[in-house]
Structure formats: C-alpha cells, structure tokens
Amino acid sequence: MKRAFGKPEKLAIYRDRIFEEINLLGIGSLGIVAIISVFMGAVITLQSAFNFESPLIPVYAVGVAVRDSMILEFSPAIVSLILAGKVGSSIASEIGTMRVTEQVDALEIMGINSASYLIFPKIIASILFNPVLIVFSMFLGVLGGYTFGVLTGVVTDYEYIYGITYDFRPYNVLYALIKSGVFAFIIASVPAYHGYYTQGGALEVGRSSTKGVVYSSVLILAFDLILTQLLLS
C-alpha cells in the first residue's frame, strides 16, 4: 500500500490514467447502478405500502421510507456491494493477469513503480467517482419508487413527493457520501492487493478475483456497521 501511494513518475501520465479508470470503473458502472437502483426504489415502495396498512400510518410515509432507505443504506451499501463484485473482480483479474503474464515485471524493469502506476489511479478514480454513483443511485431509487408507486396506485404522486421532502435531513446525504468514500477505497484497494500478489496462472487469477470480491464485501459490511455507529449515534 505504501508503494501504491509512492511518488508518481510523471504526473501527466497518472492524470490520464485516473481519467481512464474513471471511464472504465465509474462511467462503465452507470448502467448496472441505474438498473439496480430503480428496482430497489420500486421494491421498497411496494413493500412499504404493503406493510403500512394501518390507518395510523400516513401514506406519505412510503415516500419517507424510500428516501431514507435509499440514502442511508441501499445506495451507499448495497450499490457498493454490487460494485465490489463488478469493479472488484475486474481490478483483481486485470492486475492478476498482468502479474502472471509478466506485464507487472515489465513495468518494474522499466524503472516504474508498478504498484503506484496500476493501483493508485484506480483508488483515486474510485474515491472520486463512487460518491457520484451513489448520488445517482439515490436519485434513481427515489425516482423508481415514484414511477412504480404511482403506476401501481399504491401511492399518489402528491403523497409520494410530500413524503420524500418531509423532514429531510441533509446530514444523511453527507453520512452516505462519507460511507461511499470509505467503501470506494475498499472496492479498489482490496482486489488490487489480491491481484498484485497473484502467483501462478489462470487458476490463481480466478482465485485472486474471488478473494478480492469476498474480502472487500466483508470489509464493506464491517465498515458499514462501524461508520453507522460512529456517524449516526
């Protein structure tokens, strides 16, 4: 990790690498994040409406439930878990393959800090773009809930919009963004570590990829708990 944050050989090349990684890891994940978020929002809406049958609970509570569920947990944590699978396996297998085909050695022979060249741009790109993905997910989740809630008739558009604006706490968004930044670091660094230290051949690349995804997912869940206790208690 210390080597990954070593002094870059050429700043311009690292800047270009960060943009490449943002495009690859971030922009390339917009589709899957959009699909998951819309469906999560829709399901939370339908489940909330189903469970809020009591006349004591106002219908606009569906909007509140969707908003808070998406902002507090579903967008930062669940989307990060999905990204740990998609992006994490991609990072571990890419770097692992480079390791077993001697491409990492080729970088070292050229006098390039291979850990820094390969891992640092991925971590920075992930930390910069993951919060964008999370905000995008929050927005689409709430929108998905609105669309399916109104289409199925479980909530009116007025009640839903009233619900999502009712007692809105901006701090919750900040909490989600802090979590997404930490998760972004885990998503990029843990699989990169496993990929970088791959030894062997194709089988070991697969194992590194699996390890990277499993360990980063467990760490995300653990830090989700720790950060929730620290930031919301």
């Binding site: 050989e9 050429k10 090349i13 393959t97 480079m98 085909t101 001697e102 491409q103 050695d105 080729a106 070292e108 022979i109 050229m110 006098g111 390039i112």
Partner: protein, 220 residues
C-alpha cells in the same frame, strides 16, 4: 549467453540480475554499481538503462503496438507527442514491423510479439539488454530472424546483451561468451569455440543432445 536445461535456474538467475528476485548471497554489478545495495532511486536509475525481452513478450494488452513502444518513451523523456511517435515508428521499422502500429497484442503472432517487445526494449536506448528465451515457441525461421535482430541491435547500439536460451542453434549463431548452468550452479564458462570442444560431460550432454549438433561435432 546463459544456457542450461529446463529448471536449471536460468530465469531465476536473470531475475536476480535485474532485481526481480532478491539475492540470498552474492552481488550483481552494473559498471561497478552493486544493484542490490542501492536504494529505490538508485535501482530505478539502473533499471532505466535496462531493456528486457520477456519470454512471452509481456506486451501491455490494453495498448496497441505503437502505444506499447511509446510507453517507456513517455515515461522517461519529455519529447513531444509527434517526436515520441517518430521514435516508436523508428524502433518498429528497425524490427521490420512497419504496418502493425494499430494492432493489439492479441492480434499478433508469437514472432511479431517478440519483435514488438524488442522495439519497446530499445525505445529508450538501453545500455543492457536481457532476453529470456527469445525464440521459445517460434518456428525455426522466425527464431533465426529474432536471433539476427538481437545480434544486429547489440552491435549497432553497442549494448551488453545477455540471452537465456536452451536453443543451441542460437548459441552457435549469435553467442560470444557462454555460461552453462547445471542444477542451479555456474557449471562452465567459455567461448563459442570452447564449448564445442569441451570435455565436460554435463556440458557435452546438453550441447550434443540433438542429432544436428552431433553431426556438427563430427565435422570438428
């Protein structure tokens, strides 16, 4: 040239020389500089003087042929984009690969990959060129092309080239000083002429393992 059976430790020795493996004992000197005693920056300075041809080419899969050759130039020079491309194209022409600039490594044959790797290795004009089994997996004609290319580049740029191989044809074609490794030890050293006349049993078993070499020996 460093020769020896598979598993004798040739590639391990090469990796020790270029600092990819740590040494248990001994030293590696580059013009009097002990590589393994140097700090990170000292090692980095020496590595900039090294060109390496890996067994599988080790080309960057995500980059085109031209980008692979431009890469070390971009890292270590301040040339403009057009100058970098000119330098890369010069190196590619030198290895007789003029029309492959936009191809990706997955679109190249084994011989072409080796030639691109040579072009990349000479792109920043190294003082030392290390080649790990440059003609493994190549047909005999392409092997000769690669051998000749290494020989020409060594003479043309006046660089020190160390080639690891178990191909005796290469040894006969381009070898000057030869080291034979047997079970991890430096077993024998000598010139190309000397290796053909040595009485060392292990060296003879290796050198004259093929019918071609036995026939060659009978002519002496």
């Amino acid at each position: 040239m460093i020769i020896g059976e598979s598993g004798s430790g040739k590639t391990t020795l090469l990796k020790c020389m270029i600092g990819l493996n740590e040494l248990d004992s001994g030293e590696v000197l580059f013009d009097g500089r002990n590589f393994h005693d140097l700090d990170f920056n000292g090692k980095k300075a020496i590595r900039k003087e090294i060109g390496m041809l890996f067994q599988g080419g080790a080309l960057f899969d995500s980059k085109t042929v031209e980008e692979n050759v431009v890469f070390p130039i971009s890292m270590f020079t301040d040339l403009s984009e057009s100058e970098k491309r000119d330098r890369a194209n010069f190196c590619l022409q030198r290895v007789n690969l003029e029309n492959a600039n936009k191809l990706y490594p997955s679109e190249l044959s084994g011989g072409m990959k080796k030639r691109v790797a040579i072009a990349r290795a000479i792109a920043v004009q190294p003082k030392y060129l290390f080649c790990d089994e440059p003609n493994s997996g190549l047909d005999p004609i392409t092997s000769i092309v690669i051998d000749n290319l290494i020989k020409e580049i060594t003479d043309e740029y006046e660089i020190t080239t160390i080639v690891i191989t178990h191909d005796m044809n290469s040894v006969i074609e381009i070898g000057d000083n030869i080291m034979f490794i047997y079970k991890g030890d430096n077993w024998w050293e000598g010139s190309k002429q000397e290796i053909l006349k040595t009485a060392n049993i292990e060296v003879c078993d290796f050198v004259y393992a093929t019918k071609f070499m036995k026939d060659l020996k009978s002519k002496f």
